[in-house]
Amino acid sequence: MASAAAHRLLDLHRDGRLAAEYPAVRGLLTEHSQPELVTAGRLLARLDPDEVLRLHPAVPSPRIAVRGHGTLAAVLPALVGELARHGILGRPMPGDFDSYVFDLADPGSDLYASGADLTLCLLDPHVVLDELPSPWQPPDVGRVLDEKLAVLERIAATFDAAGAGTLVLTTIPLPPDLLGQLIAHRSRARVGVLWREANARLLRLADAYPSVVVLDLDPLLAEGIPLVDPRQSVYAKAHLSAELLARVAREVGHLVRHLLGRGRKCLVVDLDETVWGGVLGEDGIAGIEVADSHRGEAFRAFQRLLRQIGSQGVLLAAVSKNDSEQVRAALREHPRLTVREEDFVRVSANWRPKSENLADLARDLNIGVDSLVFVDDSDCECGLVRHALPDVAVVRLDDEPALHVRALLRDSWFETREVTGDDLARPERYRKELARGEFLDSFSSIQDYLDQLEVRVVLAGAEARDVARVSQLTLRTNQFNMTTCRLTPAEVEAWRDDAAGHVVTVHSGDRFGDNGLVGVLFLRREDEVLRIENFLLSCRVFARGIEHACLAAVLRRAGEAGVREVRGFYRPSARNGKVADLYPAFGFLPAGDEPEVTEFRHDLAVLPAPPAHIEVSERFELGGVALRAASPATTTAMAMATATTTAATTVTATAATTQSGGNRA
């Protein structure tokens, strides 16, 4: 029987109101079963994307080129449905049948001209089977695989060089009816080796080319999804089953969500029946199931998953209706519990509505509630959170703890291209951020607090090692992101390689420790004009004057490097309203409105003084003039005076140290 949500979606379709009500679709799809989602995808695929965009211009609408070997019709509505689950209006663009080599190997093809944001290339076993002689021997399989891999390697190189977005290739699954055609075990083993070596070569393309993602189909098939429906393969040349294509579409949905900067950052778990079995308040610390017993082992597997996810930079928090002291005692003292208190950035054990705890957590971590994933076994709690905070992703567990792991992994909420060093340090940093909040509470004014915080900022040209983190910042940062221009690592590399472009990283730290690489300025020099194409700053260092220090330094250095005018740009998004007036606050004047972008200009006549509480070091160039300077913020000398400094100046930080020391005294 269809769910209420599927009925509601069908009603919207029947009434012709799906486009008008598109923003409600995402919420409805969260409650669709997998078969219902397939139908929903077909209905949504009938919508005119231009009509939806006209009614809802803020909906992201990436273009997804689909290429491959056989009939791939089923993947198109599946992509539309899966992307709609994430609030994304996918626009799939199919190509001609079996045109993948022609389209992808030729940089002059229509595919490259189409400007697709992502290209999905689906490979099936018939790529190889179609070229085997009759009869065939194991070496024939090796020869055809070699030829195909050579073509695919050329395609990956061509695509990467073209800078055409992201290419997703699938591995080529070993089909069920191939090995059985050989009667000798030894021959079967030989073909098994050749096939897997080819797929290993394919998977290595992701290491060689930053714009290429290789999706391994083996684990998806291992979930129990059929590779092929023989009738559809024979009669319609559909060599991958509709179920597998739907599963691939789900993976592509995760990737697109990440590329659009909609990945999640914080995992919030319930405790009773989620992290451990039983109810702490009733069973006591000794009575909960955490390991060793049948159910205990299921929960232990889930605890290990939480630690695993947390170890890669995802913030963990717990929200539980329980007595706070008892929860703390369990997390500290239970000898067999795998997750401990220190694994969480916050444990909220109280009797308030969970939605309130989630909203407070997001506020204190300075992230949006749309960065949270909430996991609970209670239907009621899940429903309340969905209702109160529709932007929180809710994962409903059931009463079978052995299925908890897969339920959480199912939507790859925290997927990223690469885990950076910054990711690994993130949880510790957020714990310090919460400590900073308590430190702040002990001061009478914000300025007193800032004066004592000992903030330091380093501005430096981006190095190769920074590329992954810079890309990630463009993808993760929503609030302080002047133009919300998302960049893949390959696109960041292109910026670095561009002689007129300058990627300036912002590192910061304070008395509580190092914040890491927290911001980026994308600058472009055009003769006497310097364009700040984008400026973004991680939410974890807001409200410390760091943006002030950055702009003061860039404006001063621009003047030193012979620039006469600096331009800044603001492109409104759903989340970056708080920085709309950033440039005017630092002396920029409005200079014309494009339809979607506001432009500002600074003539460099009067420069903003740097903030007194920040010590700034600069190691970047603006168009051929290399400078090295450490300017303690306490030297509030007029910026114009220092603008004449062209040689390396090193001013020790003594003044700053003395001042803050004095204040402490």
């Binding site: 139908t39 077909r42 009938r46 019709a73 089923a74 509505p77 009669y235 509709a242």
Partner: protein
């Protein structure tokens, strides 16, 4: 699915195509929005609804939705 009306509703609700009793007998290419990509999806939907295996080669050669319906219900 036992009547032509139910079949029409099924095609409308599962494939999103604007099929009516009036055009269900029309040539497939005259159905607004029809594309050969719908055929495989329709086959799967019909096999699910009738709980029986249908002949894909025959369906692929069908010239109208009504003839597909007749194959599915065994007429």
């Amino acid at each position: 699915m036992t009547t032509l009306d139910m079949f029409v509703e099924l095609v409308r609700d599962e494939l999103g195509l604007p099929v009516t009793r009036q055009n269900v007998g029309s040539a497939l290419e005259d159905i607004p929005g029809w594309d050969s990509i719908h055929m495989l999806a329709l086959l799967m939907v019909l096999e699910r609804e009738t709980s029986q295996r249908l002949s894909l080669p025959e369906m692929l050669d069908a010239d109208s939705l009504q003839s597909i319906y007749e194959m599915a219900v065994g007429r």
